[in-house]
């Protein structure tokens, strides 16, 4: 199942990262466009949008955030993955909620990146109705409804917009309600190919996850912190 527009644009000022990521994506069969900074990329995107964008945040000329905003001004649906090299930067970017679909911290594993690209392409294909959903109906856990195909979530029938990472974290917690998941376990289930993710990153993702649910339902309190251990999903 190949998306209609499978072009992946990689925008990073690091030449070696661009080259490696480009090589890996091509090997997976994706057409690839490489850009050294946001300005060049924007010039090209104005002509024709790619199917997915991988963006470095810190770049000279036009940085990743600005480019992301510009892309969102012409397309709400194109998937965007951010690459960041600072934990605190990730926090800031998450807080801005500029509409990225996922974030990966440098140094990331190539397989992790490829897996995310695949998920996002599938999601956008399903959203545009170009692909048939597998018969699998969304899974429900009380008020929570998780679509394992689209990576989308509904709480009390209201949609909650999650990044792929947040979805995978929630999934890790929800599948064993009442059981405590350590940060390490959450990490392994949400970044299956990445060897190192700081615990702080997990914490800030969980914080964001709670906030997103609270925006839909201010009474939401199902994700509990278990001090010294990790987190737990309470079913009722």
């Amino acid at each position: 199942m190949r998306p209609a527009n499978a072009v992946v644009a990689v925008v990073d000022d690091e030449e070696n990262i661009r080259e490696t990521v480009g090589f890996a994506l091509r090997r997976e069969g994706y057409p690839v466009e490489l850009f050294a900074h946001g300005g060049d990329a924007w010039q090209s995107f104005k002509q024709k949008l790619p199917g997915l964008v991988i963006l470095d945040i810190l770049m000279p000329e036009m940085d990743g955030l600005e480019l992301c905003r510009k892309i969102r001004s012409i397309s709400e649906s194109i998937p965007i993955i951010f690459l960041t090299s600072r934990d605190e930067e990730l926090d800031r970017v998450l807080g801005l909620e500029i509409g990225a679909d996922d974030y990966l911290c440098k140094p990331f594993s190539m397989r992790e990146l490829l897996a995310r690209v695949k998920v996002l392409f599938r999601r956008s294909a399903l959203d545009q109705g170009r692909a048939k959903s597998d018969a699998e109906a969304p899974m429900t856990f009380g008020d929570l409804e998780m679509d394992m195909q689209r990576y989308t979530v509904k709480w009390k029938s209201l949609p909650v917009t999650l990044t792929v990472t947040e979805f995978m974290m929630l999934n890790a917690l929800v599948r064993h309600p009442g059981h405590v998941k350590t940060r390490n376990q959450i990490h392994q289930e949400s970044y299956p190919h990445d060897t190192y993710v700081s615990e702080r990153t997990i914490d800030s993702h969980i914080k964001r996850l709670r906030r997103k649910f609270e925006e839909t339902d201010p009474m939401f309190d199902r994700i509990e912190t278990v001090y010294g251990l990790g987190y737990r999903y309470r079913e009722t």
């Binding site: 070696n16 890996a24 600072r86 440098k106 990331f108 594993s109």
Partner: protein, 511 residues
């Protein structure tokens, strides 16, 4: 025990104790009043004897009774004189002949009673004598006697001078001193003159003195407390504030957060608090710089790490030897970049310390720049032209290697941004105690948003190809060296290209 020790180690308590001790010194002086009292008594006894002698010698051989009467009535005195015959029978008594004015209780004795009693109560165990004397009820032991039989009288009637003290019946500590002098006629004792005086007036005086001491003591204690309070408000309160500040500065994990709030007081504590404020502010900025530096550093390392990791993933995944070679080469490049970063970081962190230890000499800028530019001309060949213009006598006090580092870095920078066939101009001149050097290129100049950041560590903005070989530390190192020499460096845009201006203090040269 431990608790009370801590309590007494407080400065305020020690100050109060010290002040009270000072106050007790005059009280110790009161003890000497006892000695004073004894001396008064012996003086009094001697004086009584002398007066008795005078009267005795005056009346000897004449009609004793008449003469005695004349003498004692002509000069009334609080000394009581009696005249007795050879058997001790009373012949005349000065107080009967001329009664003295009744003694009045000391003025204001009632007013002082409370105070005196408090004092007496406090010191009673030590000083039993501090109670006020009562006015004697009957003034004299012999008051009603018609025959005097005391040992002093008997002694005198036997021809020896007699002395005795009798406790006045009414007074508690009041005594009466007696002195008897024999009266001779042709070598035969015909009687005696007995002089007596109560010590009550002496005690009365002492009592007034003691009362005065008591008043001074009470006033001094009050003053000591006031002084201690004053000390604790003007010295200890600000000290305590400093302690509170000091505790607030370290958070629970012992990190420095915030700084001392310098007080505006003009005294030493104010100075101390301002000094602490300066120190902690420096530390705060230093800690902040360290933290940003660490964040920057980890950021700088993550990019090469990301390249290494992804390249390594690919090497593991790919079979084509040519592609594998390419990725291995990439890993090599990035490792080299990390090494460059590390050595740059090490260098920049040591510049300040190193500059302080390096020997400096007077260096002529013209020579130095000529040398550097000759090297660059050789390296760049026809590609770039170099102009050098020297005016005045620019000489700086520095280490040659450091200046080479500064100008090579800046020229490198200028060359890397110069277009093919461009010119790099170096103008150096001396004025106003400064040596000013400008280096300008014909490159694209510095984009306005980057102007303030180009001296920041790790900031790079370069054409992509040359990017990997630059750590973003070059200009930061240049700035650290120039500032280490007490100079400044600024970057701006000229008509075409960028202009770097370096100002270094001019060395004093003879003549």
């Amino acid at each position: 025990m431990k608790r009370s020790r801590r309590y007494f180690s407080r400065i305020s308590i020690r100050l109060l104790a010290f002040h009270l001790l000072l106050v007790f010194l005059p009280v110790a002086g009161v003890l000497f009043l006892g000695t004073y009292e004894k001396r008064l008594e012996s003086d009094e006894t001697r004086s009584l004897g002398e007066q008795a002698h005078i009267i005795a010698s005056a009346i000897a051989g004449r009609r004793p009774s008449e003469t005695f009467q004349r003498i004692v009535t002509s000069k009334p005195s609080d000394v009581r004189f009696r005249l007795v015959d050879a058997d001790g029978n009373l012949l005349a008594d000065s107080h009967r002949l001329a009664p003295p004015k009744p003694t009045e209780p000391p003025a204001g004795s009632k007013r002082h009673n409370t105070l005196y009693r408090i004092g007496a109560f406090l010191v009673r165990p030590v000083l039993k004598w501090i109670q006020p004397p009562q006015p004697p009820l009957d003034v004299d032991f012999y008051e009603t006697a018609s025959r005097l039989t005391g040992p002093e009288v008997k002694g005198a009637l036997h021809g020896e001078e007699g002395f005795d003290k009798k406790i006045t019946s009414g007074g508690r500590r009041s005594i009466t001193l007696y002195r008897a002098v024999p009266l001779f006629n042709d070598g035969k004792v015909i009687g005696a003159v007995v002089a007596s005086r109560s010590t009550y007036p002496i005690l009365q005086d002492l009592y007034v003195i003691r009362l005065g001491v008591m008043q001074i003591f009470v006033a001094s204690v009050a003053l000591a407390i006031l002084v201690s309070l004053f000390f604790s408000t003007t010295i200890l309160r600000p000290l305590r504030q400093l302690r509170v500040d000091a505790r607030a500065i370290l958070d629970r994990r012992g990190r420095i957060r915030g700084h001392f709030k310098g007080s505006r007081r003009m005294d030493e504590i104010g100075e101390l608090s301002r000094a602490l404020e300066r120190i902690t502010r420096r530390m705060e900025t230093h800690v902040h710089a360290m933290e940003t530096f660490t964040a920057d550093l980890s950021h700088e390392f993550k990019n090469p790490l990301a390249s290494i990791r992804t390249a390594n993933d690919m090497v593991a995944d790919v079979v084509d030897p040519a592609v594998r070679r390419r990725f291995v080469q990439m890993v090599d490049q990035e490792v080299a970049r990390m090494e460059r970063l590390l050595s740059g970081v090490r260098e920049i962190s040591r510049i300040d310390v190193q500059l302080a230890h390096e020997e400096r000499s007077a260096l002529a800028m013209s020579e130095l720049l000529t040398k550097i530019i000759d090297g660059f001309r050789l390296r760049e060949g026809e590609r770039i032209r170099f102009d050098l213009d020297v005016s005045g006598e620019p000489v700086v006090e520095a280490t040659e290697d450091r200046l080479l580092q500064v100008f090579e870095n800046l020229l490198d920078n200028a060359v890397s941004f110069s277009p093919e066939g461009g010119t790099v101009r170096v103008v150096t001149s001396a004025n106003d105690g400064m040596v000013v050097t400008r280096i300008s290129d014909e490159g694209p100049g510095i984009a306005e948003p980057h102007r303030n950041r180009i001296f920041d560590r790790f900031f790079t903005y370069r054409p992509d190809a040359s990017r990997r070989s630059h750590t973003g530390l070059g200009l930061a190192i240049v700035k650290a060296i120039v500032e280490g020499y007490g100079g400044t460096i600024t970057a701006s845009n000229g008509e075409i290209g960028a202009v770097f201006e370096i100002r270094l203090p001019r060395a004093r040269v003879n003549g």
